[in-house]
Amino acid sequence: MARIQFKNVTKRYGALAVVRDLNLDIRDREFVVLLGPSGCGKSTTLSMTAGLEEVTEGELWFDDQLVNALPPHRRDVAMVFQSYALYPHKSVYENIAFGLRMRKVERSEVDRRVRNAATKLEITHLLERLPSQLSGGQRQRVALGRAMVREPAVFLMDEPLSNLDAALRISMRAEIKHLHNEMQSTFVYVTHDQAEALTLADRIVVMNDGLIQQIGTAHEIYDRPANKFVASFLGSPPINYLEGELARVGDALHFRRGDIELIVPQRLAARLGDCSGRPVSLGLRAEDVDERGEMTGGRTIRGRVTSVLPVGSDQFLGMEIDDHELFFRVGKDLRHAVGEVIGLSVDVNRLHFFDPASGKSLLWHN
């Protein structure tokens, strides 16, 4: 059991700050995913939690213990690595048992826990093998087993699934979620894969450039992005942006850009406040359009189809609208040819507005 608190934590390598003024409170037994592009500081944050990297400034607390100076072997953490990092010269059994042996756990207890974990992960038949004789998925299971048997207070995972193929990744995701339910540990999981983050996390921490961009549940992060970075990072195909301006027409607030005119619903207009004439960046998620909806004024966009990319369950449609190429996700039954001019109805309740200069959301400021 452990609550993890970062208080104004900064990590520098020489003059380069890779994590800046990080404040994060991870609750006991929570599943937190650190999400961001490579180089955003998420792995460094994980390494600091493990004690593998020193905290340059600020404080890191496990419950009521300040752990800044505590080496990894004195912290109750286990970690799963992207490359698995199994010991090549030890058998699977010894790999899993190693952490327990180092902690002087009794022999019979080591054996019981190793066999228990092996049974759960269905690798009992592999115990005598060497890592080099295993497939990627099997190695991943051994790496999980090695962390599991420790029964640590904090379970750290650094992109554990990114070396697996797509199908295996999805089934392992489910297993990790199951493991979390079973283990009574705090999980901190690093990934750049939005789908992993959205499916696994109790809370997601989106990071970029060493700074936290937003902290929230999957729902909050996706539906109420705090800025353009968060909005762009989640969603496939990514969110579309249209630069334009807001204008008050009678009682209603409109978004205008060239021929495009969208009516902003009351609920959103209220959040935007008085901003008539203000330039904004409109965010329109790829799936928030409907080709079957009513083509009423104020909630329709028209454009020329530039590409049709079927992806099985649905299709991605590229459309040129007012010299901009936007991408939408539409139903697979829709048959449009490249070059055709079509209209799509927009779910205006799900529009996003950002400040064009700062990129901050005008709707959801934290």
Binding site: L52, S83, A85, L86, H89, G99, M102
Partner: protein, 321 residues
């Protein structure tokens, strides 16, 4: 990439068989000839050394030379092991006729003690190389600290300075320590010469092992020292063998520094004593060759013991992966 499935290797084999057999035979012949020439070039001096060590002084200078001894004799070896009894002095030197053999250099009795000195020095240098080199290399390869790059470059730089340039500073250093004519002078200076290279071999090997392995071990509960001994050392055996061989051979063969620092049989090593045989009243080549045969035995034993690691060890670290 090497084919590792039976099907793939079968395909390669059939491809080979399908080639014109003329080219295959030609290639085989070429390789065979080249190997034989190379082997002869490398082994001939050793063969002559061994052969002549079993000849007497008369036979060794015969024309044409005898490639194999016509009258094999163990007198040279016997002389080495009984050297104490047959000392030759200025007065008695005419009694032994060099051309008929039986002549023994006046310093012959120093040979076995010198061999002992050589062994002590070489083994100490090997052990200390490992004790110093392994932790140093691990630290440089896996721990980020201020001055890490500088120390790696400093170590590399010392390898491009020829030993002879260091003789004078070494000599002053050793004299000031009062270690002239002590085997400590050799151990200390040989370490200065060998440790940088050992560290260099080991750093490149440790760097080729993934950082995540180091991290995994530490999260699993190892201190830095335990990470080194329990995870890295078992994986580094080939490069450790390379270090052992290198340090042993460098110390065993070293001549220049030993010539400077040793004056009496108390500290003289094998190369020095063997060389001293050529500055005697008369030179007995067969005796020197017998000493040479003894001198190559320990390195050969070492090479045989570590044979299966040598090739991988010498290349380990040189190429990553």
């Amino acid at each position: 990439m090497r084919p590792n499935t039976p099907a793939a290797s079968a395909a390669v084999t059939s491809q080979r068989l399908a080639r014109p057999s003329f080219a295959r035979i030609g290639r085989g012949l070429l390789l065979l000839t080249a190997s034989v020439v190379f082997l002869a070039y490398v082994l001939f001096p050793v063969a002559w050394l061994v052969s002549s060590s079993f000849q007497n002084e008369h036979e060794i200078v015969s024309k044409p030379p005898h490639w194999l001894p016509h009258q094999p004799t163990a007198q040279n070896f016997a002389a080495i092991f009984e050297a104490g009894d047959k000392t030759v002095t200025y007065e008695t030197r005419r009694k032994a006729d060099p051309s008929s053999g039986g002549f023994i250099p006046s310093t012959a009795s120093n040979l076995l003690p010198a061999m002992g000195n050589s062994l002590i020095v070489a083994c100490s240098v090997v052990v200390l190389n490992l004790l110093i080199g392994v932790p140093a290399a691990y630290a440089m390869a896996k721990i980020r600290f201020r001055g890490r790059q500088v120390s790696i470059y400093a170590i590399l730089t010392t390898r491009v300075i020829p030993d002879i340039a260091l003789v004078v500073p070494f000599f002053l250093f050793i004299r000031n320590l009062g270690l002239l004519d002590s085997i400590w002078s050799l151990i200390i200076t040989y370490l200065a010469v060998t440790v940088p290279f050992s560290v260099f071999i080991l750093v490149s090997y440790f760097e080729s092992l993934p950082d995540e392995l180091d991290k995994a071990a530490r999260v699993d509960g190892c201190s830095r020292w335990q990470t080194l001994t329990k995870v890295f050392l078992p994986l580094a055996v080939p490069s450790l063998v390379a270090v052992v061989l290198f340090a042993f051979l460098a110390s065993w063969n070293e001549f220049l520094l030993a010539l400077m620092f040793t004056q009496t049989p108390k500290s003289q090593t094998l190369p020095i004593v063997v060389a001293s045989f050529t500055s005697d009243f008369t030179i007995s080549f067969s005796f020197i060759n017998a000493a040479g045969v003894l001198a190559i035995i320990p390195p050969v034993i070492l090479a045989l013991v570590f044979e299966r690691y040598i090739v991988s060890g010498l290349t380990a670290g040189a190429v990553k992966g």
